[in-house]
Symmetry: C2
Subunit: 326 residues, 2 copies
């Protein structure tokens, strides 16, 4: 796509350094979901891998380049999925991985980061504070800081999902993409605009963490004072200017959804598709639930981008609704 930081040839090259366990993930039409949604729905499932999210695609690109350069250590801030993926990719290449996270992060994600032999440092604040602390560690120790969505490798890794979506024949009418830092949306968006230009690229963010969506709408960076959503994977407050610039060229729309819709979408995915998903991974279905007429009669794909949940919270979210809904 003209003018973005992304390049399709580089994305194809990125595919070659990613462990195949993260590639060619299931993509299938899920008719059981359709009566509840009123449109044809295909699932791109990014959870059936060693780290249960799409983030391994990007960290494989980062870690392979680092290992090739002789680096020994790397640090990142993470809400949990990037850290887990970087820990996995780094461990396989002999890299010392440090992850900085909020102490309020999803416990299951923190447990997995530790289990993958990474050093985990918790900050008493939110993800933006973790970003600051990770940057300080990188400066102090003279090691590489991986910045999700800013570092082009994270976008290129995520973009390989786009290559797999663009192979679908006929092409999808729309692809729904969770919007957090923006790596997934800009990466996949770039490939779709390049290879399947008739597919609408729709980003979805929670109303409770709307900074990048608001920025996209206003065409300038807008930060928020707080983020309040169960979708921990996309709860940023300070959009990255370069990512916004790309998103302005690649996204056809950016929508905000309510927490109740995210929960309803998680329940639908469990009950009718047999899929455990984390809140961020339910954003696409939530967007359909909030605007069925927009999607009626169309074939929509949604990227189920992660499944790392704390089971007690997940049980609460997906418990039968009081109305008697399943």
């Amino acid at each position: 796509m003209q003018g973005t930081r992304l390049d399709t040839a580089r994305i194809r090259a990125a595919r070659r350094v990613i462990d195949p366990v993260f590639l060619d993930t299931p993509l299938y039409r899920c008719e059981a979901l359709e009566p509840g949604l009123g449109c044809a729905v295909s699932i791109k499932l990014e959870t059936a891998n060693p780290v249960r999210s799409f983030k391994g695609r990007g960290t494989e690109v980062v870690a392979s380049a680092l290992a090739a350069s002789g680096a020994r250590a790397v640090v990142c801030a993470s809400a949990g999925n990037l850290g887990q993926a970087l820990a996995w990719s780094g461990r396989g290449r002999g890299l010392d991985v440090t992850v900085v996270a909020s102490r309020f992060a999803t416990r299951a994600k923190l447990d997995r980061i530790r289990a993958l032999d990474a050093r985990l440092e918790l900050v008493d604040g939110d993800h933006e504070l973790a970003r600051e602390r990770a940057a300080a560690i990188a400066r102090h120790e003279g090691i590489r800081l991986v910045e999700d969505s800013l570092d082009i490798e994270t976008c290129e890794g995520a973009a390989t999902i786009g290559l797999e979506l663009a192979d679908a024949v006929p092409s999808f009418d729309a692809v729904l993409i969770a919007l957090g830092g923006g790596a997934l949306a800009t990466g996949v968006g770039h490939v779709l605009k390049a290879l399947a230009p008739r597919t609408e690229v729709i980003c979805v963010q929670p109303l409770g963490a709307p900074a990048l969506t608001l920025s996209w709408r206003e065409r300038r960076v807008i930060t928020t004072d707080s983020a309040d959503t169960i979708a921990d994977g996309v709860a940023g407050r300070r959009p990255i200017p370069a990512v916004l610039d790309d998103l302005l060229l690649l996204a056809d729309d950016a929508v905000l959804v309510q927490e109740t819709s995210i929960i309803a979408a998680m329940r639908l995915l469990l009950n009718d598709a047999g899929l455990v998903v984390e809140p961020s991974a339910a954003l696409g279905i939530a967007a359909i639930l909030e605007n069925r007429p927009r999607f009626a009669g169309r074939h929509v794909a949604t990227i189920v981008c992660g499944s790392n949940v704390d089971i007690p919270a997940y049980r609460r979210w997906t418990a039968p609704a009081p109305t008697g809904e399943r």
Copy 2:
């Protein structure tokens, strides 16, 4: 494998007629399960496809041959997964599909069969009565009867999973396979014996539906008067002699597991792997839970063969254990 009904070249040919949506399914090591199991565990995930079980591999082979022969209709008996898969494969090829099932079958499976435009006939008895009724329909209407595990296409379709498992380097120390009619076990077993002969082929059946396991141990067909298990997908009572003959040549072991172990395995797969599985798909993990010393220090693969559950029952099975276990 010498002397069985299976042939590796035919299995490779079968792969070419199966819709790719059923092939090359995720195969990944799931370290989060390992502390609870005491061995290295890889998951072969057969649930992320339009029918949420491995049965589509076999029905694709059946339906493509039928369509090529000019057939217009087909009938099968099913506990639910075969019927759903045959409905899917038949619909895509213009075949009229009739499925006979027990009226006690898992409701979600019956609902999906209907939703896929198949004619569903329920019998007031168990799966063995459904088999008799399906055979009668086939005779009366002069249409093809698909008999799971007896019809070689169903074994060859399932066997394509074996091709994907045999590609793993290094090879697995053991593969755990749910044992029902025997198509999955003989198909995958054949390929492993041919291509990864050092891998132990272990079949797992519920104690409450042990007919084929008892037959394997006694080396003669043993039927049971009843089957009593939540693992509806493997609840047969009358083993097929030709399938037993193959199994005797291919299985290294056949073990029986308790219902409580199946439930514990389903809970483990949900809590630690984020996977919704039906009881039959938890048999492999149940076998490890019942005999950790046997698998300690080894790398075991288990085929997660289906995820079609009735949600209320699934919620009961996977509710937190009274002991305070997650």
